[in-house]
């Protein structure tokens, strides 16, 4: 049975698209046929992060409007042949999406794919609403700071009251917390909320912590999902997250500060 995963946050700039690209790639690498859809119509980014921007012919809105078939619009990833990308339209806005149209496309994808990752736009308006409406699982991407946490909380409220599963009284969406741009050093200095602080406010199952990392920016600029950078801490964090999501038991990493050379010699305070 296919599962629809929405990657959402409420707030912008927390790493939704980076996360969508990474986990879609991770799932595909694990042998599951996966599609990732960019719901950010008008502010298309996912294609850049996935490095397929020069191969976009048709987009999500074309398929909804019946101007192209799903197969024409889906772009096969160059790194993994089990991963397909459905890009957003850059020339339209969110009103081009309709609930009926989105539902039809997802139904069609469900026949062929194991996982469908929906990259939600920021905000709680139409685009974000449609991205989460049909979801089975939700990855809530949160940065360790108060406004991001509150927006995530708001998003969780919407998931539990306005999604299809909520409206039809089905089993609720499974919600997972992904804490991104985490910096243990700054937590220690009191400049950032800790994992425990965020957990206390959101009371949500923690799927993983993604450390603040230069490799994320490098990956975005080069158009390869950061999970493929196996040496980077962020890449490893996403690999752990995918493994945990698939049921593997992996201890959490990147929560405690790295000990520098001196720290190793003299012990941490």
């Amino acid at each position: 049975m296919a599962r629809i995963i929405v990657v959402t946050s409420g707030k912008g700039g927390v790493g939704k698209t980076t996360t969508s690209a990474a986990i879609a790639m991770g799932l595909a690498k694990k042998g599951h046929k996966t599609a990732v859809i960019d719901f950010d119509v008008g502010l298309r980014n996912l294609d850049l992060i996935m490095g397929c921007e020069r191969r976009v012919v048709y987009d999500f809105v074309n398929v909804i409007n019946g101007e192209a078939t799903l197969n024409q619009a889906l772009i096969r990833d160059k790194n993994c042949n089990l991963l397909y990308i459905l890009p957003a339209s850059q020339t339209r806005d969110k009103d081009a999406l309709s609930q009926e149209g989105v539902g039809k496309i997802l139904d069609e994808l469900k026949k062929d794919f194991k996982y469908i990752v929906c990259d939600s736009p920021a905000g709680i308006e139409k685009g974000a609403h449609l991205a989460m409406y049909f979801a089975d699982d939700a990855f809530i991407v949160t940065n360790p700071e108060v406004s991001s946490v509150r927006d995530s909380d708001r998003m969780l409220g919407i998931l539990s009251s306005k999604s299809r599963r909520a409206e039809q009284n089905e089993e609720p969406i499974r919600e997972y917390l992904l804490l991104s741009r985490y910096s243990p050093d700054r937590v220690k200095l009191g400049e950032m909320l800790s994992v425990d602080d965020v957990q206390e406010i959101l009371s949500l199952h923690l799927l993983g912590v993604i450390p603040e990392s230069k490799s994320v920016l490098n990956a975005s600029n080069s158009g390869t999902p950061v999970i493929l950078d196996e040496k980077s801490d962020a890449g490893q964090a996403y690999a752990d997250i995918v493994a945990r999501y698939l049921g593997e038991d992996k201890p959490h990493r990147f929560i405690d500060e790295k000990k520098g050379l001196f720290g190793k010699f003299f012990g941490s305070k």
């Binding site: 909380d153 409220g157 009371s203």
Partner: protein, 241 residues
């Protein structure tokens, strides 16, 4: 219950009428055989004698009358009293039954009945199989998230946290068995007897019958503590529990 505003306008009045709401067990009858009723009621009382001892009770005849089953109100009252319960009202009776009740000094309550079973009893009822919360209580088991709003026409019981930016309103009491970080407004229709109970007070705003305090007004001694909040002389009192 009824209010009367006729007051003696001379100096300080010796009495005052106030309207309040009570939670009273309702005995819903489904059969009219007084012997069986007595037997089964006795069984119920035996299960929780302390709870039923001198407990006020309203009996509801709506189900009986729906099926054209008549019952002798005088006889029924006698049984209820015999078992140590104090009948204080009849509900859903026909004209004759109401008349009979009034003669026995039992007031008649307006006919509309909530479609409830005999389980409509106080929630602290120790009897295991009828743990159902009284029909006027709204129970929420999931977290109330930022931006969500919950309104209860009776009491509101929340078994999870209430996030900052969420709003919970009840005409009756509010209980929060998680962290209360949002706004909680009890007695929103003016019930000054309503209270707020919470196990961890971090609220943005608390209000009872329109008397409110914002987060800034809460002193450190009560923050993050289990407290109850009630109204005394139009002032909110926050006390630890």
């Amino acid at each position: 219950m009824s209010t009367d505003s006729q007051q003696n306008i001379t100096h300080s009045p010796a009495l005052e009428f106030k309207s309040s709401t009570f939670s009273v067990p309702v005995l819903v009858l489904a059969g009219n055989d007084v012997i069986i009723i007595e037997q089964q009621l006795q069984d119920k009382v035996n299960m929780a004698p302390e709870f039923f001892k001198n407990s006020p009770l309203v009996f509801d005849l709506q189900e009986l009358n729906k099926h054209d089953l008549d019952i002798d109100v005088a006889e029924l009252t006698k049984i209820i009293r015999k078992l140590g319960l104090l009948p204080i009202g009849i509900r859903g009776g026909d004209a004759q039954q109401n008349q009979q009740a009034l003669k026995l000094g039992i007031p008649v309550h307006s006919g509309h009945t909530v479609a409830a079973s005999s389980e409509t009893q106080k929630q602290q009822h120790p009897e295991p199989e009828s743990q159902a919360v009284a029909a006027t209580t709204t129970m929420i088991t999931h977290p109330v998230r930022s931006g969500q709003r919950i309104y209860a026409s009776g009491d509101l019981v929340i078994l999870a946290q209430v996030s900052a930016g969420a709003e919970i309103l009840a005409e009756g009491n509010i209980h929060v068995y998680g962290s209360l970080r949002g706004r909680a407004l009890a007695g929103v229709q003016g019930n000054t007897e309503a209270r707020i109970f919470c196990s961890d007070l971090q609220a943005e705003l608390i209000s009872i019958a329109g008397n409110y305090k914002i987060s800034e007004d809460l002193n450190g001694a009560v923050l993050n503590q289990p407290v109850q909040i009630y109204l005394q002389n139009h002032t909110l009192v926050i006390k630890d529990i």
